[in-house]
Symmetry: D2
Subunit: 422 residues, 4 copies
């Protein structure tokens, strides 16, 4: 998907591609896999499929396509995620209790919305295109976000099953880990945040100045081998390494390793989208929470970078070609091709926890209307992640992107890269 | 299904019929409907289908069929309900988080078990038949119990969906309610409990003497019209009518009517297996808990009967012919044919709450081995229900049957018949 | 306290004695000990002191003493336990969050109520005495119930403190346990329940016939030595011995011994009102729940007696003289004088769990008015205990008394006596 | 208390003053008031009294006073708040279940520690003074922090009591609110954080550069009159004003006004340390959470200031003389003297929520050893407050001070001052 759409034709092509990419991700699913919700944080696959359609229906078709008739008025509630300005929402932790609409009906709903969207896009006059294109673009990037969530939620949903069913049978890519080196940055007053005409979410704006002191950043994310050293040195049993909230979570949940790791006959394995396999020591560690990442950095005598440091150092790098493919790139779990130059891994292996709380940028204003609830209201209690993961669509990755999750969250493809002062 | 099986042929016929009846109940289901679990008390339909097969596999095939090979050893854990002596169990409240085995795989599991069972039954010598027939019979009655649970759980699972999907499109039967009259009984020393050679669960034994004082019993269960009078008289808002635990549940859960009732434009409707329909005032009230039933009886200046009173008065009555059909009879919700003689309703409309706690009969002994966990360990905290409901297989109904649920449970087809002293 | 009061003078004497006995129990308390509430089931000592006064104030002074002026109208809510017909109640689990009224103010409240009660009792004409005496008697027996609860709650409240503070410094009585023998009873139609003019709670009525099959009863409660044998035989680790609800509680709570037991240097101690002391193997086991008692009986190849069996066998025995003292007898924990004849222990060592659910007797009617909430509304989900404990006032013990607690409750002085058929 | 202690004599004087100030705060308490804990976030007064002593005992007496003998070794666990490096801790939410040690024993513990501390301080050689003075100073500032917590926890503990008992009978100060005006700041690169030799907590360091864009700051905190306008405009019922986490909290807790507000006959009152009184419209609003403050700012078309903006604008202002008194100043609730110049209110009325997450300053290093757990491990999930409240000891207030609480917390004296860009 191109990130800047100039006219209706571009929009139509991009829309069609984004929608198809979502469905392509479901090619290996059984009907039953679409239904389940193994914890409140994740959603059933069919909910994702429907919700992204609801987004187009609510903000574009109902508002701007004369004569549009919804498939079912009750979907307005069922597939509203959290938009209070739109109306009530079905209880999030109970999404997995709904067998209907069926998977077929959800696909029919998608087709119905697609039909409406194409009618809308094809019929738009130039000024309407200018007016609506931002909303269409938002809907497509929203769809891309859910492509990643669909995969991470599926991985979690499958992981709780003692049968350990694989999402697909692709082998995991492997490559030796590059040695970890440090690159230094002088700091000073730098600019961060989104600039230009390309699409970006509101939370990436406004572009603004930031003051950085001199710092150094590791050449690549922390590897499984390094994480294992932390574990073997008692990292999970040493409270003084941990933030208080992290230690409480680790004790309450019994953490002794990253999520999805399990020991089989004394050897560490992890559950991946390709099933249960031995941990690849060269791959970046994944499925660690912010509080684990912070404890690791503490143990390593380092710290996490701030999001401004990260963006200044890595945000301008080109996306490596090997990651650019239509739809998702490398939809596999924590076992990714590591480039010979560690910096390639800035984009596309694991989301990298930063030390920055997810807060509004100076001068931030949420969008007008209901879409203003998209990002702004979540700017509390979460931490920023940067980069992108193996489950992020390549065209969805950019240097100013701010991802965010709660400090104990572990079900995303989340890792870390360490930093230090001076 | 005949309740006494004489030889292998009878057993095979009965087994085949019982297994087919279970699958027939699923004819109208979508694949997705098999997967969900809308609260911890209910199970997914595919779990029921698998668990009853696990029962035969565990207690007959593994133990008695030489060379039997299970489909998947992990099913031993996944489909064990609560038999600690057999081994560990997958967490009950999380059964709805499992997409695998798929519905197809579960049917294949059923077919595999059926194949084994037929091989076992066909190959049995006479003395083996005598030895194993009780276990086979137990397995079939167990399957019948789950036929009812499959329906009640499905009803609940569908009910939480705002789309209010119907299980089937059969119209609900209707008939005028007979006037409620009282029939008196002298009491004295009577005998209750199972006698004879026909099948019965261990909790119906031993047959024993009970002392009854004179009492009277209503000619039919309480109707929806009568329940509505209770509601309109403030029954749900008058704490002095309620047991303490009942009042607490009613406040906590916000009860204002039976489960599944909702007011639409000022008129009471209820969700049934045929969808959302107006409440039929002539039908017996259903989906009320013990504590609601007790409050009603208190309000009516009456009481619930003891299980011994119920069995003495109604346990010997013949099952009305119109209820006898293969498989289930009247798999519909609370809108059942009412005979002209109210006593017909003793069997087959709603389970009737009694005032008796579910405790072991004098002299009760649980069966030896793991099947001893079938009933005995649940003899605490539950109340006895008698009769049978529209979802009970006709051949599963008998006068000595002891059903049991917790005092606040409402998702079964449960109603009440009032009694009084003297 | 005499149990039948003939005239105002008797009533006054009995009232004065009952009230004084309550306060005598608090002689060793620090002010702080009156305030705390270590779990929702227990109440602070000062709440008990106030609530029993509220009972007299509410049902006698406000209703029958012209010109009575309450100390504080807000006490009507603060000290109402559960009488919905009287009005709202302060949240029970939060009683321990109230520092006011202070202990001194509570004693002043008691004195104020006593003054009113004496004015009422002294001023009553004969017919008023006849009319009000039952309520006064009820208030005094209510006060006696709370004397026991005050002690058991104090014991629990002190037990959670790592300092293990003792309630008093009296040594525990000791005596060798008599050998356990069996006494047989023929059964037949017997009469149970309260008869005569003496005081009894409404739940002990009406006296009625019961049919008993032949049974045998142990000569004394189970001892600590016997319980230790159960423990050492894996009783707490064998699920097949347990009721399902019991096993769940044992796992959830991590039970490995009775409440208050702890191992010190490999030797079992228990926390008593006299502090932490070694377990006396000869004493009756105490602080076991119904579900533990049931598992023990199962393990011992026996069962618990029904409450009718217990009453028939032991209810008519005289109370041993050594237990009769004013106020409480033996306010100590599980280390009681064992008579040479085990039957003496029927009264006064530990409450004995029966196999009977706490349900209304045939023909039971709750009292009219608010005091009707005293007992009836709790007749669900609890099990009957018979006898009396070392914390029960001697004059409060009688053969028809029905005590009741929930199956997992352990903080009372509760033990068991086993029975068997035939 | 002077904030820089030069020699043993100064230290002794400061120590003595700090300890006496704590006890002076308890002059009006009943014994019972010391014991209770009305929610997990607050602690009993006697726990505060003991814990601050434990701090001196643990970090100074045990480590540095030869021959020191603790009163009770078990206090090491009971009064350890959260120092994992020191050892285990008694469960925080259950502090209110402990009646022992009694209040008298706690005061004896304090005296014992004081005796030890004086012996230590009087006997120190010069070089030891230099070495230990920082720890002594830390202990005294720690004691001051708990002086404020003691008051805020007491207020909360008393507030849940329907008797609404007052802490003291001092009248609340009143004064007209100054008009709200805006003062503009140019921003640029500024310095924030602690500098110099005076005492400061580790979280105020290191002093570092920050880049501020132009901003404006209100001349005084938001008043109750202004808050009432927010309420009357539907502020608590408009989800689009709120952060998602805030809206969830507001719905779950039923917030309709600041904590402690209640309507009496249509007129707003609030519970204060002086009891229940009408809300003073001129006083700064208090007892609002971060999420309420943020919603208010949103409603007002403004925002909260960052902590750097706050410190740059207000941190250098002198503390007004009228606030400087030994011990606490104005220990009253939200009804404080407002100066004619609103800027006076920067210090000493209410803590002011900022938009800054509580995170480590660039270059922050926690102290070595167990005291390193003092601040650093809480740098996650909380928001920074600046200024100081009516319950903050005057000598404890300074411009670089970083207070921090969780976004939904309301039991502190917390208000807000609004800011805007440019």
């Amino acid at each position: 998907m191109t990130t800047t759409a100039k006219g209706p034709e571009d929009l139509i092509a991009a829309y069609t591609q984004a929608r198809a990419a979502t469905e392509a991700l479901c090619a290996t699913l059984e009907t039953e896999d679409y239904v389940i919700q193994a914890m409140p944080d994740v959603s059933p696959a069919k909910w994702h499929l429907a919700h992204v359609s609801w987004f187009f229906e609510t903000f574009l078709l109902r508002a701007h396509l004369p004569g549009y008739r919804p498939v079912d008025e009750r979907y307005a509630v069922l597939f509203n995620s959290y938009y209070n300005a739109v109306g009530p929402q079905f209880s999030r932790p109970e999404r997995g209790t709904l067998s209907r609409p069926t998977v077929s009906e959800v696909y029919a709903y998608r087709a119905h919305v697609d039909e409406g969207m194409l009618a809308l896009l094809e019929g738009m006059a130039a000024e309407q295109t200018a007016a609506l294109a931002p909303l269409v673009m938002l809907g497509m990037h929203h769809e891309q976000q859910h492509q990643e969530l669909l995969l991470t939620d599926l991985k979690y949903n499958l992981s709780v099953n003692p049968l350990r069913p694989a999402y697909h049978d692709r082998p995991l890519p492997t490559a030796p880990a590059a040695p970890l080196t440090w690159r230094s940055y002088e700091g000073g007053i730098v600019e961060v945040g989104h600039a230009g005409e390309d699409f970006a979410f509101d939370n990436e704006s406004p572009r603004h100045r930031a003051l950085l002191e001199p710092f150094a950043l590791a050449s690549r994310p922390v590897s499984n081998a390094e994480w294992l050293a932390f574990m073997q040195d008692g990292g999970y049993a040493t409270p003084t390494l941990w933030l208080s909230q992290g230690w409480a979570a680790a004790q309450r949940e019994g953490w002794e390793a990253p999520l999805h790791w399990e020991q089989i006959d004394g050897s560490w394995h992890h559950f991946t989208l390709s099933g249960l396999v031995p941990v690849d020591l060269d791959a970046p560690v994944s499925h660690v929470s912010f509080v684990e990442a912070d404890a690791y950095a503490h143990w390593a005598g380092a710290r996490l970078p701030s999001e401004e440091e990260w963006e200044h150092a890595l945000g301008g790098l080109p996306i490596e070609g090997n990651f650019v493919e239509s739809g998702l790139h490398h939809p596999v779990s924590s076992g990714l091709t590591l480039g010979v130059d560690g910096y390639r891994q800035a984009f596309g292996d694991v989301w990298e926890w930063t030390r920055s709380a997810y807060l509004p940028y100076p001068g931030f204003r949420a969008s007008e209307g209901a879409v203003g609830e998209y990002n702004g209201k979540f700017m509390l209690g979460q931490m920023v992640l940067r980069g992108g993961s193996c489950a992020t669509p390549a065209s969805h990755i950019r240097g100013t992107y701010r991802n965010f999750f709660y400090p104990p969250d572990r079900w995303q493809f989340t890792g870390l890269r360490i930093a230090k002062d001076g």
